[in-house]
């Protein structure tokens, strides 16, 4: 054992020590953060002493040390991404002293990562997210920051449309800034309707079935559908349920308050089966993703597509002149009308590192300026009442009217209900497509999943 081997061993040990030192700064960061929290509680307890002033200056210093705002968003697609980045650079030009650090994560990955973000300490300050049950889940667990002060200070309670204020609030406190939404409707090609001899867009279920027959007679598939990844099928369930049983039943069902074995649910699938029997849907739709199913429509092989307004992002621009949409036909005229209009927005983590800066940036994201920009550049519909929409195309005006005339606005099946129920539900709908007679067994399975979730307390 010469000195050489001693050095070898020594360097190996050193590497091991270095590995451990990698952990130590983490621990240090945590302790510093904890000190800050202690300072804050002290500030509340002790009143008007010299000590408080000292504490305050310390606290201000710490606040200023966190002088960036961390913003994580899921706008990975090219157009929204460009918009997102330009909004951040607008902020950074106006606020060089408090720049935003922006990370964009792909949509699906973001959905997985959100829990890690919200439970991290310190967490990213501002995050993109969805309104409805998806947000409420985290708010109920105390992971989302109360932004009522920012809401009031920026007069959001005057400038936001009432329905969206409702969406932002729980028990009178605001947690979420809904900034844009889009509508769902049946998109169709008027030229193909004319070719099949359909004079006007169907308004009732019977008219829809007749339209399907007429289109089939001229060799055009009535509905395009691409549900390889399941979710486009959920729109069919949403609409058939809201039209058959009314929005309130749909809310209760997605809130897991009503059993899936309720005869009313079965009635939805009976109506659905009518559509299948009238050969309304294209063959092998489960083999295509939603964008691939646009092709038969563009080629004139299919006439309609129940889809969100984002269909126009993927629809060829030159073919859009022959693309229009109509409201999902009424089945029971006695019922109030519900529409799917998923709303996107922003919230802050309860453990946000820079809460003041985060709120300021949040106020900017919810400002008229940014919503106007989103409306002009992305056709995202504003949730504020003061955004100028007069320049909008006839289609957009029609879409806004569609949502404003609705009695109830739903967020879409996979946002209204819990993630696990959505997963099971959509799998059930897919089973229904391939074997409609199996519906009792399918609904029993869905009910089992619902009971399990109720038991789990989600």
């Amino acid at each position: 054992m010469s000195r050489n081997s001693f050095w070898k061993i020594f360097s190996v040990a050193l590497v091991a020590i270095l590995l451990f030192t990698a952990c130590s700064p983490v621990i240090q960061t945590v302790t510093v953060e904890k000190e800050v929290k202690v300072v804050e509680t002290k500030e509340v307890k002790v009143v008007e002493t010299v000590e408080v002033k000292v504490v305050e200056t310390q606290q201000v210093e710490v606040m200023k040390a966190a002088d960036t705002v961390l913003y994580n968003s899921y706008n990975g697609d090219p157009k929204p991404r460009a918009f997102d980045e330009s909004v951040v650079s607008m902020w950074n030009e106006a606020h060089p002293e408090q720049p935003v650090e922006h990370s964009i994560i792909a949509h699906e990955d973001f959905k997985q990562a959100i829990r890690a973000y919200l439970t991290a300490d310190p967490a990213p300050d501002v995050l993109t997210w969805f309104a409805g049950n998806r947000a409420r889940f985290f708010i109920d667990k105390g992971l989302v920051m109360d932004i009522s002060d920012m809401w009031a200070a920026n007069k959001f309670n005057e400038t936001y449309a009432p329905g969206f204020q409702e969406l932002a609030s729980i028990d009178g406190k605001q947690y979420f800034v809904p900034t844009s939404y889009y509508w769902w409707a049946i998109y169709y090609r008027p030229s193909l309707f004319k070719q099949a001899g359909i004079e006007k867009a169907p308004e009732t279920f019977d008219e829809l079935l007749t339209a399907c027959d007429k289109l089939n007679a001229v060799g055009v598939t009535p509905f395009a559908l691409g549900d390889r990844f399941k979710w486009p099928t959920a729109a069919w369930f949403d609409y058939l349920n809201m039209r058959t049983n009314g929005p309130q039943f749909h809310i209760d069902l997605t809130d897991l308050k009503v059993p899936y074995t309720d005869p009313k649910v079965k009635k939805v699938f009976e109506n659905w089966k009518l559509l299948i029997d009238h050969k309304c849907f294209m063959e092998d739709h489960a083999a295509y993703d939603w964008q691939e199913a646009i092709d038969p429509m563009v080629q004139g092989k299919a006439a309609m597509y129940l889809m969100g307004a984002f269909i126009t992002d993927s629809y060829p621009d030159e073919a859009e002149s022959d693309l229009d949409f109509f409201r999902f036909p009424i089945i029971d005229p006695a019922l109030p009308v519900g529409e799917d209009a998923p709303t996107d927005g922003y919230f802050m983590a309860a453990t946000a590192r820079n809460s003041e800066g985060g709120k300021a940036f949040l106020a900017f994201l919810g400002s008229k300026e940014v919503q106007q920009k989103a409306f002009n550049e992305l056709n995202r519909l504003p949730t504020r009442k003061d955004v100028d929409i007069s320049a909008a195309s006839a289609a957009v005006q029609k879409g806004i009217a569609l949502i404003q005339s609705a009695d109830y606005v739903a967020q879409f099946y996979d946002r209204d209900t819990t993630a696990a129920m959505a997963e099971a539900g959509m799998e059930g709908f897919m089973r229904f497509w391939s074997n409609p007679d199996d519906i009792d067994a399918i609904l029993a399975d869905l009910e089992a999943e619902r009971l399990r979730l109720v038991e789990e307390g989600n």
Partner: protein, 444 residues
């Protein structure tokens, strides 16, 4: 004479330690404030790229530059003792170079919002150490060190039997932190109802009981994995062996075939998933275009068909696996002693008997390895399902089901239970595989 007493090799090792600390602090420790993301490397890259909110950090670039120079020369010095004097002087120079930055930084007015951080001070100390390394080389110090090492030599002398363990200690620590500990933690989680946010509650074997008695998707996934396993053991093995036998002979264009059958293996599984989703597209895909071209009126919907979809996904996986098996068998065939084959020929064996009694038995170890690898691969199946169907159309497999339960449905405990079941099944095959490979190793 004097030079011989100056021990520069020792000082080079010391310099190497210092420079590693310097670079580590620069790369990974907070240079200012307490946030790890405010490390020196980030500050320099922000300053150079003009990122929004970038700080003024004059001369900070000296630190990585001098550090890189010093690390090269300190290593050179430590490895070649006869050159270590030059190396020592150069790394001392590098230490002085980076000290220029530290002196300017300390002399400049301090930003109270951004106090100098741990990384700064560690790097500052390290660069002082780099300059002080000549002390290590000074005869009295070296002699004292020498004496210290000799006098208490027993303390430093590690028992020879322990040395290998010391060397694998870093790897073992990483292995423990990343593999062993998470495995046991997953087993613990599988007995809780953890949702990823609230505190996990211990619920015993409830998750397992539900899996095996109530969960339809679990049974379906298990069946799909079994289908995958059966196909994977039989089809690619037979096809691969056949192709290996064909391409092992001298034939015109054999190389082109070999490469073309092997090439799918170069592609990543998600890419294969995408390619095959297009191949299976019912209206525009390769298969149905061909079928309609030859007059088939109602070609199947492939991935859209709940009965066919799982077989379609497995077929895509087989396409990749065949090339892999072929290459393994080709390697096995190259190892067969031609004399044995010739001897069999002389004895009058025909082709079939030659294969059955000579070649195939000699390939037995390869066959075992291939069978076990196929089993493990079929249990791991995840990527293709995730890309092609996301588990829809009755194509769910255990790995994807686990992912969905844990990360989509937020049932970490339940997902953990699926993971443990998958792990237990895999363990059987992995144990078999290890026994086989270790046996082979001992034979050679």
């Amino acid at each position: 004479m004097r030079d011989q007493t100056w021990d520069f090799s020792l000082s080079s090792v010391f310099a190497l330690i210092c420079v590693v600390i310097l670079l580590f602090s620069f790369l990974f420790l907070p240079w200012g404030g307490t946030r790890l993301t405010d490390n020196g490397a980030r500050l320099v890259s922000d300053a150079f790229s003009g990122a929004p909110g970038a700080r003024e950090v004059p001369l900070l670039w000296l630190v990585p530059l001098m550090g890189s120079v010093a690390v090269i020369f300190a290593m050179w010095g430590a490895l070649t003792p006869e050159r270590s004097r030059l190396a020592t002087f150069i790394s001392i120079g590098a230490g002085i170079g980076s000290l220029v930055y530290f002196i300017t930084a300390l002399g400049a007015p301090q930003d109270p919002k951004f106090p100098l951080g741990l990384g700064f001070w560690a790097a500052f100390g390290a660069s002082l150490g780099m300059i002080a390394q000549f002390l290590m080389a000074m005869p009295p110090v070296a002699a004292a060190w020498e004496g210290f090492a000799a006098g208490t030599g027993k303390v430093f002398r590690v028992p020879p039997g322990l040395v290998p363990y010391l060397f694998i200690a870093p790897a073992l620590i990483l292995y423990f932190v990343w593999i062993i500990a998470p495995t046991f933690y997953t087993i613990y989680l599988s007995m809780t109802n953890w949702d990823g946010i609230t505190d996990p509650k211990f619920i015993g074997l409830d998750n397992y009981i539900r899996l095996f008695t109530k969960d339809r998707t679990f049974t379906d996934s298990l069946w799909n994995n079994l289908r995958w396993l059966v196909i994977f053991i039989t089809v690619p093995t037979t096809l691969g062996l056949g192709m290996a036998l064909i391409f092992n002979q001298e034939m015109r264009g054999g190389k082109i075939f070999k490469v073309s059958f092997y090439s799918p293996l170069v592609l990543s599984l998600p890419v294969i998933g995408l390619i095959w989703s297009w191949v299976y597209n019912p209206s525009l895909g390769l298969i149905n275009s061909f079928l309609t071209g030859i007059g088939v009126t109602d070609p199947p919907g492939w991935l859209g068909d709940r009965q066919l979809a799982i077989w379609c996904v497995i077929a895509a996986a087989v396409w990749r696996q065949v090339g892999y098996v072929m290459v393994l068998y080709l390697a096995g065939l190259k190892n067969i002693d031609p004399q044995l084959v010739d001897a069999a020929r002389v004895d009058g064996a025909n082709r079939w008997n030659l294969f059955k009694h000579v070649i195939f038995p000699l390939l037995a170890p390869v066959t075992t390895i291939i069978a076990v690898i196929s089993m493990i691969d079929s249990l791991r199946a995840f990527d293709l399902v995730a890309i092609m169907t996301r588990g829809g159309q009755n194509t769910q497999v255990l790995a994807n089901f686990m992912y969905i339960e844990a990360f989509n449905n937020y049932r970490m405990g339940y997902g953990g239970a699926i993971a443990v079941v998958l792990f237990a099944i895999s363990l059987v095959f992995i144990g078999f595989y290890l026994r086989q490979t270790l046996k082979d190793e001992l034979e050679y």
